[in-house]
């Protein structure tokens, strides 16, 4: 029996968090949630995650700041972190790439495409 892959979902909107969590759990992942960047950073440090899905616009600490903290910490600097964002203009995507995200998932999240994107992102 292979162990379940662990995914950390950092997202401030509760209903979106629930949707993503339920879909990922259905597809066999173990999901932990955080409500903002700061909570995400602390939860990421506490557990080995195979993937972090990180919202960009969040209160307390946004996705960019949270990613920077993850990259500073020895325990989390190698984590695969995908941005979740509704702003997908060329400038936004360039900024996301420059910030060091491993990829980007456009919001609204297409729940039928999500499991494929998630699986592929962990393949490297």
């Amino acid at each position: 029996v292979t162990e379940k892959k662990r995914i950390l979902v950092v997202e401030d909107t509760p209903i979106v968090r629930t949707l993503i969590t339920d879909v990922l759990e259905y597809h066999g992942y173990e999901v932990v949630c955080a409500r903002n960047g700061a909570e995400g950073v602390s939860k990421a440090a506490g557990g080995a995650f195979d993937l972090v899905l990180m919202d960009i616009h969040m209160p307390v600490m946004d996705g960019y700041a949270a990613l920077a903290r993850l990259r500073e910490n020895e325990a989390t600097k190698g984590a695969i972190v995908m941005a979740l964002t509704s702003s997908t203009t060329e400038e936004d995507l360039a900024r996301i790439a420059e910030a060091g995200f491993d990829g980007c998932i456009a919001k609204p999240v297409d729940i039928r495409a999500l499991p494929i994107v998630v699986r592929n992102s962990m393949r490297r």
Partner: protein
């Protein structure tokens, strides 16, 4: 506004898809039917909201034209390919006629030009009903009297075989949220914003759009845009020939 409107709606769509995919339990036939309606209506609403946002951006004049050298033939073919599947499903013949004298290139905003043409095409396919025909024609149009002489216009016409819309309804067609009767069918055309959006996209180019009676008795939507930006600027400056 975009984000605020789309997030709740896409959440409705997401959870409905979870139900439809029966991730957490089997649904009865009736429940599946209702979830289907919820999804269909939500997607319609999402499309409408996307249109409203497009329209309001253009109205706020924030939509900037990004003119580049565009090949009219390619724009036409690419817009046609977007409606091909739907046309086949309804056994509607799609024909493209590009006049040999049409310039290889015009200066326009390719995305916006394609969007305007796509709106006309999908409306033509919708109102042609089964077994009809939709014909797209592109041709050059020389400058008319009182217009700056020179490069002239690109004229694009989309003709359908649907019931001819009454002349008194023609002007209203291009207003947002208009509903215009398709005579003899008991049906209406215009889901709200499409044609208004097409008009704005064309006018943004310095062009104009209208509808006339087609040769086959259907409707012919026609728009023209200046072939070059120089021409468009001279038109905007009110220069005559």
């Amino acid at each position: 506004m975009n984000h605020e409107l789309r997030t709740p709606l896409s959440t409705i769509i997401g959870f409905s898809e979870v139900l439809q995919d029966e991730m957490f339990g089997v649904l009865t036939e009736k429940q599946l039917e209702y979830v289907g309606y919820i999804l269909q209506s939500s997607r319609n609403l999402l499309a409408l909201i996307t249109d409203i946002i497009d329209l309001s951006k253009i109205e706020a004049d924030r939509a900037e034209l990004e003119p580049e050298r565009v090949r009219p033939r390619e724009v036409v073919m690419s817009a046609v390919s977007l409606v091909r599947e739907k046309a086949i499903a309804h056994d509607i013949r799609l024909a493209v006629e590009v006049d040999a004298a049409t310039p290889d290139e015009v200066e326009a905003d390719e995305k916006k030009l394609k969007q305007a043409l796509y709106i006309l095409l999908s409306s033509a396919v919708r109102s042609s009903f089964d077994h009809g025909a939709v014909t797209v024609r592109a041709a050059p149009l020389p400058a008319r009297e009182g217009e700056p002489a020179g490069e002239g216009w690109l004229r694009v016409a989309v003709e359908d075989t649907g019931p001819a819309i009454r002349p008194e309804d023609h002007a209203r067609l291009f207003q947002p949220f208009s509903r215009v009767e398709l005579p003899g069918t008991g049906k209406y055309m215009g889901t709200g914003l499409g044609l208004a959006l097409a008009r704005m996209l064309v006018e943004l180019h310095g062009g104009s759009i209208g509808i006339e009676r087609g040769e086959g008795g259907g409707n012919r939507f026609v728009f023209r845009i200046p072939a070059t930006r120089r021409m468009a600027e001279r038109l905007a400056a009110g220069e005559g020939s």
